[in-house]
C-alpha cells in the first residue's frame, strides 16, 4: 500500500509543557487506521497537527512524499485532508451548501455562485448517501446527518485523507452501522482514514492498523490482526489489565443501609435491598430501566421518588427517615450523591479545587460562619486521592475528568459520608485514573462505608462490584454475587429471559 501521509518526529509543547514528544505516524491508501490511547494521550493533538489546526513545535509532515506545512485547516483541506471534528465544525445558521463551501466559496465576479455551490454540494451529498436539500439549514439536521455533511465536504475537495475524531460518540446504533459502511466505501476507494477511538469493537472490526499513544509518546503501530483487546488495552494503559480493578472485599460487616418500599414513581413496584459495610453494589441493566432513578430517589432528588431508609452510623445506631425530602435530608444522614454529569450537576467548575472540596464542610455550618480554607483537610484529600494539580487554587475546570471525579469524591469523604451513591463513576475518565477511583472507593469501604453505583460498562460492573442488582422496569430482577457473574449472565437477566433470579428483600 502506498503511503499518503507521514508525520515524522512530531513534538508539540503548550507553554513549555510537552503534549507530544517525537511521535510519528504513517497513513496508507486504502486503510482505516485507528489512533488510540487514554484521554490526554495526545491523539487529538496529533490529528489536529495533520489537519492544520495546531502547528507542531517540531517535526515534519510529508504528503505524498513531499514536505508540507499547513497554516490553517483550510490549507490542509485544500491539500486533501478532511477532518470530521468531534464537535462538528459546521455553522448552524448557514445552509448545507454554504457551510460546505465556507472559506472557499465559489464566486461569479463579486457575487456568490449559489447555484454552482448547491449543485456541487448535492453531488457530494449523494455520494455519501444523503438525500437532503443543500439549501436546508444546517441547524435542522440530526447529528448523524451533520456528520455526513462533514464527510461530503471532504469529497468536494476530493480529499485523500479523512480524519475522524471519535465519530460514533453521538450516534445511535443504526447511524453507527451507516457510518461504518461509509467508512469502508471510502477505504475501498483508496482513501486513507485516521480513526480516533477507544472502542475496542470498532478498532478491531473496522481498522486494519492501530497506532497507540501514551502520555504524548508513541507506543507503536500494529496491524490489528496481531492484537487482541486485552493486549491493546495493556498497551494503552502501559500495564496489565488485571491491575485495573482492585481486589474485592474479603469480608463484609453489618448492614449499614436498609432500603424498603422504594418507588421511583407512583406506578413502579416497590423494591427493597440492603448494603453492608465494606460493600460495593452495582445497579446494572439495560439503559433507562430505572437504575438512575433508584439512585436519585435515595439521594432525595427524584421528584416522584419515595423510600423508607434506615442507615447505621459508625457507633452502630440506626436512624430512619424517608427519602424524598430533598438532597439535604439524605446528605444529613450521610448519603452522598455523585451525579453522572458532574460538570453540570456536581462541581462548581470555575471555583478553585479547595472550594469544591470543602463545600460539603461549609454546607454544614451556619450561613454567616467564615469560610475558612481548611488547608489541612484539602491537603490530606489531595494526597489521599492523588489529585494531580500544581495548586488547589486552580479552577476545577482545569483538571482532567478523572481528577474532577476525585474532587467530587473528596468533597463527600471530607464530611464523613457513610454511603456513596454514584452514577457512572468513571464516565469520561481515562484508564489510569479509573484504577485510582476504584482504589479510593475500596479504601472508603475498608473504613466502614458502602457504595451503590450505576454503570453502563459491564466490565466495570463485574470488575468492581461485590454484588450486582440487575434492574428491569424499575425493579430488581436478579441478584448476583462477585465471582459468579459474567457479562452474559447480567445481559440475560436484563433482557428478561432468565429463569431464576434470587431477589432478596
Amino acid at each position: 500500500m502506498q503511503t499518503l501521509i507521514a508525520a515524522r518526529n512530531i513534538s508539540k509543547r503548550y507553554d513549555g509543557v510537552p503534549s507530544l514528544t517525537h511521535v510519528g505516524i504513517e497513513g496508507k491508501a486504502g486503510s482505516i487506521h485507528a489512533v488510540t490511547g487514554e484521554n490526554g494521550a495526545g491523539k487529538s493533538t496529533l490529528m489536529k497537527i495533520i489537519a492544520g489546526v495546531v502547528k507542531p513545535s517540531e517535526g515534519e509532515l510529508f504528503l505524498n512524499g513531499k514536505a508540507v506545512t499547513f497554516r490553517s485547516p483550510l490549507d490542509a483541506l485544500n491539500a486533501g485532508i478532511s477532518t470530521v471534528f468531534q464537535e462538528f465544525s459546521l455553522v448552524p445558521n448557514l445552509t448545507v451548501a454554504e457551510t460546505m463551501f465556507l472559506g472557499r466559496e465559489l464566486r461569479r465576479g463579486p457575487q456568490l455562485d449559489r447555484a454552482a455551490m448547491n449543485a456541487a454540494a448535492e453531488k457530494a451529498l449523494a455520494q455519501v448517501g444523503l438525500a437532503i436539500d443543500p439549501r436546508r439549514s444546517v441547524g435542522s439536521l440530526t447529528v448523524a446527518e451533520q456528520q455526513s455533511v462533514e464527510i461530503a465536504k471532504g469529497l468536494t475537495v476530493d480529499a485523500q485523507i479523512f480524519i475522524f475524531d471519535e465519530p460514533t460518540a453521538a450516534l445511535n446504533t443504526q447511524e453507527v452501522a451507516r457510518l461504518e459502511i461509509l467508512l469502508k466505501a471510502l477505504r475501498d476507494r483508496g482513501k486513507c482514514i485516521f480513526y480516533i477511538s477507544h472502542r475496542m469493537r470498532e478498532i478491531f472490526e473496522l481498522c486494519d492498523t492501530a497506532t497507540v499513544l501514551k502520555d504524548g509518546k508513541l507506543v507503536g503501530s500494529y496491524p490489528t490482526r496481531e492484537l487482541n483487546a486485552d493486549r491493546l488495552l495493556s498497551l494503552m494503559v502501559g500495564r496489565d489489565l488485571a491491575q485495573l480493578y482492585p481486589p474485592k472485599a474479603d469480608s463484609l460487616g453489618e448492614t449499614v443501609l436498609e432500603v424498603a418500599q422504594l418507588q421511583v414513581d407512583k406506578q413502579a413496584a416497590p423494591l427493597a435491598f440492603n448494603l453492608r459495610r465494606g460493600e460495593i453494589v452495582a445497579l446494572a441493566g439495560l439503559e433507562g430501566q430505572g437504575q438512575r432513578e433508584i439512585v436519585r430517589t435515595l439521594a432525595g432528588i427524584q421528584p416522584q421518588g419515595k423510600a423508607q431508609i434506615a442507615i447505621r452510623d459508625l457507633q452502630g445506631r440506626m436512624s430512619r427517615f424517608s427519602a424524598g425530602g430533598g438532597s439535604a435530608r439524605s446528605l444529613q444522614h450521610g448519603m452522598a450523591f455523585m451525579p453522572e454529569d458532574r460538570k453540570a450537576e456536581g462541581l462548581y467548575l470555575d471555583l478553585p479545587i479547595h472550594a469544591n472540596l470543602t463545600l460539603g464542610i461549609h454546607q454544614r455550618r451556619r450561613p454567616w460562619a467564615l469560610a475558612r480554607r481548611c488547608s489541612q483537610v484539602v491537603a490530606g484529600l489531595v494526597k489521599d486521592l492523588s489529585i494531580r494539580t500544581s495548586s488547589t487554587s486552580l479552577a476545577v475546570i482545569s483538571l482532567s475528568g478523572g481528577n474532577q471525579q476525585k474532587v467530587m469524591l473528596g468533597r463527600w469523604l471530607a464530611v464523613g459520608a457513610k454511603v456513596l451513591l454514584i452514577e457512572e463513576p468513571t464516565r469520561g475518565v481515562d484508564v489510569g485514573a479509573k484504577t485510582e477511583i476504584y482504589n479510593a472507593l475500596r479504601a472508603f469501604c475498608a473504613q466502614g462505608g458502602a457504595v451503590l453505583f450505576t454503570s453502563r460498562e459491564l466490565p466495570e460492573v463485574i470488575g468492581v462490584a461485590d454484588r450486582v442488582l440487575v434492574i428491569k422496569d424499575h425493579t430488581v430482577v436478579a441478584e448476583r454475587s462477585a465471582g459468579a457473574i459474567t457479562e452474559e449472565d447480567i445481559l440475560q437477566a436484563a433482557v428478561g429471559n432468565h429463569a431464576g433470579g434470587g431477589h432478596r428483600s
Binding site: V53, S72, P73, L74, D75, L77, F85, F88, S89, L90, V91, P92, N93, L94, E98, T99, L102, G103, R104, E105, R107, P110, Q111, L112, S137, G139, S140, T142
Partner: protein, 308 residues
C-alpha cells in the same frame, strides 16, 4: 433532543406582518394617512434611522453592537456643515467613519473588548471631539445636498432613492457577497467559521467599518434635512437603531436576521410615530408605546423560536 433553527431568516416575517397590520389600520382609520404627502413625509422621516439601522444589522449579525453610530451621525452633520466644499466634506466624513469603524472593530475583534464597552468608549471620546468642532448647532450645508434630501421627483420624494440604494446595498452585501456569508457565519459559530478558514477578526472589523459608513451616510442625509450641523442630532439613533434591528427580528446574539427585517422594523417604528401624530396623542407617549412594542414583538418571536 434536536436543536431547531428557523434558519437564519429568523423571525423577520413577524415584523412584516406587524407592518402590514399597522399600515392597514392606519389606512382604514385616517383619511389624512392615505395622502401622498403624509406617506412621503413618513419615508423622509424614516430614512436616516433606516440607513443607520441597516449598518447596525451587519454588526449585530456578528454578535456585536455599535453604540457609536449616533455620535458618528452628529460628527457627519458637523463636518458637512463646517466645510466649504461639499466633496471635501463628504470625503472627510467617510474617512472619519472608516477610522471609527477600524477602532471599534479592532478593539472588539483583536483586543476582545466587549462591544458595549468598546463602542460606548469610542462614542464618548468622539462626542467630545464633535463638541470641539461644533459646540452649538450651526454652519451651512451645500444647497445641492439639501435638494437631494428634501426634493422630490413628481410625487416621489428623493429620499426614496436613498432608501432604495441603502436597502439594495445592504441586501447585496449580506446575501450576495462572501463578506455577507462570513458575517452570518461569524455570528453563528465563530470557532467553526475559523476552522473553515474564515478570518473572523477581519470579518468583524469590516462589519464595524461598514456600520460606521452607513451611519455616515445617515449623517449626511440628516445634515441635508436640517440644513446645518448639530452636535447632538444623532444621539438618539444609537439605541433607536438597535431597537429597529431587534424589532425586525434580528437576534442580538448574532447569526440570525437580515435586511428585510430591519426595513420592516424601521418602518413600523415610523408608522407608530406617524399614527400617534395623526390621533394627536401626547407625543411623550410615543416612547412608552415604542418600548412596549419592542418588548412584545421580541418576546413573541422568542416563543416561536423555542417552539412553544
Amino acid at each position: 433532543m434536536k436543536t431547531r433553527y428557523a434558519g437564519r431568516i429568523g423571525g423577520q416575517y413577524l415584523s412584516a406582518i406587524l407592518l402590514v397590520i399597522a399600515l392597514a389600520v392606519l389606512a382604514a382609520c385616517f383619511a389624512q394617512f392615505r395622502t401622498v404627502e403624509n406617506l412621503g413625509n413618513l419615508l423622509v422621516q424614516a430614512t436616516p434611522l433606516l440607513v443607520v439601522a441597516l449598518g447596525q444589522t451587519l454588526v449585530i449579525l456578528t454578535g456585536g453592537l455599535d453604540l457609536s453610530v449616533g455620535v458618528m451621525i452628529s460628527l457627519a452633520t458637523g463636518l458637512i456643515a463646517n466645510t466649504e466644499s461639499p466633496v471635501l466634506g463628504v470625503a472627510m466624513v467617510l474617512m472619519a467613519a472608516v477610522s471609527l469603524g477600524l477602532i471599534n472593530g479592532v478593539g472588539v475583534a483583536r483586543f476582545r473588548v466587549h462591544p458595549i464597552i468598546m463602542t460606548l468608549s469610542s462614542a464618548t471620546v468622539l462626542q467630545g471631539i464633535v463638541l470641539i468642532i461644533l459646540p452649538t448647532p450651526g454652519g451651512a450645508v451645500a444647497p445641492g445636498l439639501v435638494t437631494a434630501v428634501n426634493g422630490s421627483m413628481g410625487p416621489m420624494p428623493l429620499a426614496v432613492l436613498w432608501i432604495v440604494a441603502a436597502v439594495l446595498g445592504g441586501w447585496f452585501l449580506l446575501h450576495r457577497t462572501r463578506l455577507g456569508l462570513h458575517l452570518y457565519a461569524v455570528g453563528g459559530a465563530p470557532d467553526n467559521a475559523a476552522l473553515a478558514g474564515v478570518n473572523v477578526s477581519w470579518t468583524i472589523v469590516r462589519g464595524y467599518v461598514l456600520c460606521a459608513l452607513f451611519a455616515a451616510v445617515a449623517g449626511i442625509f440628516l445634515a441635508g434635512r436640517i440644513s446645518s450641523g448639530d452636535p447632538w442630532v444623532g444621539t438618539s439613533y444609537g439605541l433607536d437603531s438597535i431597537a429597529a434591528v431587534a424589532l425586525g427580528g434580528t437576534q442580538l446574539t448574532g447569526g440570525i436576521g437580515g435586511v428585510w427585517g430591519t426595513l420592516c422594523g424601521t418602518l413600523l417604528l415610523g408608522l407608530v410615530g406617524n399614527g400617534m401624530n395623526l390621533v394627536q396623542i401626547n407625543p411623550f407617549l410615543l416612547s412608552v408605546v415604542n418600548g412596549a412594542l419592542l418588548l412584545v414583538a421580541v418576546c413573541l418571536r422568542r416563543r416561536q423560536q423555542l417552539g412553544l
